[in-house]
């Protein structure tokens, strides 16, 4: 039972991290039609800048400052580079962000080195947020913080006692992602700025003729998207690993999230990222393969067939590529995504 709960929480936290990343990407795409290939690079810059800033002023100020710095970098990039190629169409915009991702990758290695950095979370977040104690006789119990050692070892024979701590860093990741989702939604629907942004999404010329500074809006949106990626970077870098290849590992998955969720749909991105996170985490737990499926259906497979590497492939081994499988299926059966609004 505790396995299910912990795995669910692990999957949700991973999914929410993906959402933090892909929300910025989907915002930028829906506002400006630019597919930002450098989005995962902003994530990486956020982690590295967060590491440096937290070394100077501590983790909590870095949590605010690092995203602001990354957002400013994003806004500057939009103002001085992206705007210049805007008039040439979508493909040049895509290419320039692609080039930016390479430049950022090399710059990060030049400044911070090629080796992974030890970006430790603050003391408050070290250790478990809560511990689930599953006693086979007394049932499930929840304890805030770490459980003392005596509670985790079974005193009587025949009793199964399992302690499952849930790390505080992951709990914090989920909290920040939810707060961020809430505030972005409030911003877009309840404030004037948000209304202008939503209008500029579909009718930029009309909005401009009403006197709003649409290029400034675009710059702010790009900066905000980069800032969201930077925030995800600070949290992801301290929870997982801060190293030069961290952009490459999440880069492809966030595109999957955006496509599966539907281009331009924030709620679609939320749904897709949570779905992918939970399914990928649970898939690791299952060792079923086509061979076992055939066995359960009553088909008798010969030893040669059972030894075939494709039939022997278990779900846990393919877990990392499941998101891409979803991408292919969505593109075949529902190209506009789960909750997509744009017809592109």
């Amino acid at each position: 039972m505790e396995f299910f709960i912990i795995s669910m929480l692990n999957g949700l936290s991973y999914g929410l991290l993906l959402f933090m990343l892909s929300s910025g990407l989907t915002l930028i795409f829906s506002m400006m039609g630019v597919l930002n290939f450098a989005h995962a690079s902003f994530y990486m810059v956020g982690a590295y800048v967060g590491y440096t800033v937290s070394g100077v002023v501590g983790f909590w100020p870095a949590l605010i400052l690092a995203p602001l710095i990354v957002g400013a970098l994003g806004a500057l990039f939009e103002r001085f580079f992206l705007r210049k190629v805007h008039k040439f169409g979508h493909v040049p915009e895509l290419l320039i962000t692609f080039g930016l991702s390479y430049v950022i990758f090399e710059l990060v290695q030049l400044i911070w080195g090629r080796i992974a950095l030890n970006f430790r979370p603050p003391d408050l977040l070290q250790g478990p947020a809560f511990t689930l104690i599953n006693h086979s006789v007394h049932g499930l119990r929840l304890l805030w913080g770490a459980a003392p050692a005596e509670l985790c070892s079974a005193a009587e024979a025949g009793v199964r006692l399992v302690c499952s701590p849930f790390p505080a860093t992951r709990g914090f990741m989920m909290l920040v992602a939810l707060v961020m989702l809430g505030s972005v939604w409030l911003l877009l629907t309840r404030t004037r700025v948000g209304l202008v942004i939503q209008a500029a999404l579909t009718h930029p010329e009309t909005v401009e003729s009403l006197g709003h500074n649409v290029p400034l809006v675009f710059m702010m949106v790009f900066g905000a998207g980069a800032a969201l990626a930077g925030l995800a970077g600070v949290i992801g870098g301290s929870t997982f690993l801060t190293e030069p290849s961290m952009a490459a590992t999440v880069g492809s998955v966030i595109f999957v999230v955006v496509v599966v969720g539907g281009m331009g749909s924030l709620s679609g991105a939320f749904l897709a990222s949570v779905l992918i996170g939970v399914i990928q985490t649970f898939a690791v737990a299952f060792d079923y393969s086509l061979g076992t499926l055939a066995g359960q259906l009553g088909l008798q497979l010969g030893t040669y067939a059972l030894g075939n590497s494709l039939i022997k492939l278990t779900l846990s081994q393919v877990a990392p590529i499941l998101p891409y499988l979803f991408l292919v299926l969505i593109l075949i059966f529902r190209p506009k995504g789960l909750l997509g609004t744009r017809e592109d």
Binding site: N118, T249, V284, P320
Partner: protein, 419 residues
């Protein structure tokens, strides 16, 4: 006429004398093909530093009275550079080509048995098609047993103990521990991980058939950042021991996830001492995490002095003892062959015995596998007896059992074709 004959005789004698000392001062260029970037980059970078550190120590003739400058009997100078292969077999073949184009005849590789298998094949083909430009492949860490069995090659020399040797020792140790009942095998999904799983199952079935293998998982190499789902799975099976051949980030992240998610079972590993894992372990895992290897941090004697010097110079730990054995064996081989030509040196290194930091080791002629003692070490607090602490953790790997050459040796099925 007599005078002309004398001149010819003296010239011939002089030429012979100079030929005998041809190796002295000769530069032997070596290239190490290994990842220098990426998730496993830190390991490759640290090991390359070790090679360059010991290249100085083993170059030139021995300095009498200074055990810290052992040199080599032929007096050659070793020069080593590294080429990044990004852990990819295709990149490694390009790197091999680049090294050969630079005139390098000795190639070292170790991280990644997948790369090793590709390299052995490429070296065999190159040597067959280019007589006179042969290349020797010195393997310092790729432990897939196939390299000295079905894929053995005259041009390949392995300095690490292969998986069959390590598993025999590890299985024997585990068999003596009566509290081990359920074992989970976690590995990287390539030749090495698959072989580790195969051999541990075979050894345990032989020595302790009552031990239950409750699960086996192979994950992609150097891709997984979050091992929490695997730890949750291991806990759900109730395994009290995990056996893993993981290395580099795959082991340090596994251990980190085990600490965070409260897994308190035993870990039997190959590479606890490798860059990154000591920091990830920290003070957790004392008395629970074991490593089987051909060396440990507290070998004593000159080794301790060198490790301290390395730490002061690079602020990094030296753990790849094969580095030393390669230089010793290469130096002895060149002196025995009286030449740096790879064909002669390879023939000379076969069957060669060298006394090194852990006693006498022998490069077995049948399969080019170094026969050496193995040590089972456990992670514990550093104390006066075992003081060396990696990555400033305050902990160390202390030896609990030694397996001498004749115990750790395993048979081979190699049918080597010699030129």
């Amino acid at each position: 006429m007599k005078f002309a004959l004398k001149v010819v005789a003296v010239t011939a004698a002089a030429l012979c004398v100079s030929a005998a000392f041809a190796q002295k001062g000769e530069v032997v260029k070596i290239v190490r093909i290994d990842p220098l970037t990426g998730l496993l980059g830190p390991v490759g970078v640290s090991q390359l530093k070790g090679y360059q550190f010991f290249a100085e120590k083993y170059s030139g003739l021995p300095v009498p009275g200074n055990p810290g400058q052992p040199g080599n009997p032929a007096g050659v100078k070793f020069e080593i550079t590294g080429i990044d292969n990004k852990l990819s077999p295709t990149e490694s073949l390009n790197a091999l080509k680049a090294a050969i184009d630079q005139g390098v005849r000795y190639v070292i590789q170790g991280n990644g048995s997948s790369v090793a298998l590709a390299l052995v094949d490429a070296v065999n083909k190159h040597n067959e098609r280019n007589p006179g430009k042969e290349v020797i492949y010195l393997n310092d860490s790729a432990v897939d047993p196939d390299l000295t069995n079905s894929k053995c090659s005259f041009w390949h020399f392995r300095f690490d103990a292969d998986t069959s040797m390590k598993m025999e020792a590890m299985g024997g140790f585990m068999a003596d521990q009566k509290d081990i009942k359920k074992v989970y095998i976690l590995g990287q999904n390539y030749s090495h991980g698959v072989q580790v799983a195969k051999y541990i199952k075979e050894v345990l079935a032989r020595k302790r058939p009552d031990i239950q293998i409750v699960g086996e998982d192979l994950h992609p190499l150097a891709q997984v950042r979050d091992f929490a789902p695997y730890i949750a799975k291991i806990k759900a099976t109730g395994a009290d021991t995990v056996v893993s051949g993981n290395w580099g980030s795959d082991l340090s992240l596994l251990v980190k996830a085990a600490n965070e998610n409260g897994y308190t079972g035993k870990f039997f590993t190959y590479y606890t001492g490798v860059t990154g894992t000591p920091t990830a372990l920290g003070t957790n895992g004392a008395g629970r995490v074991y490593q089987i290897a051909y060396s440990h941090y507290n070998m004593g004697g000159q080794m301790d002095k060198w490790m301290a010097e390395f730490k002061t110079k690079y602020n990094d730990d030296f753990y790849t003892g094969s580095t030393i054995r390669i230089y010793e064996m290469l130096g002895a081989g060149i002196a025995k062959a009286k030449s740096t030509d790879p064909v002669k040196v390879a023939a000379a290194m076969e069957g060669l015995k060298v006394t090194t930091f852990n006693g006498e080791v022998e490069m077995r002629k049948a399969d080019h596998q170094l026969q050496q003692p193995l040590y089972m070490a456990v992670w514990q607090k550093a104390d006066k007896k075992y003081p060396y602490s990696p990555e400033n953790t305050g902990m160390t790997l202390a030896p609990v059992k030694e397996y001498p050459n004749y115990v750790s040796s395993t048979p081979t099925s190699c049918q080597m074709k010699r030129p």
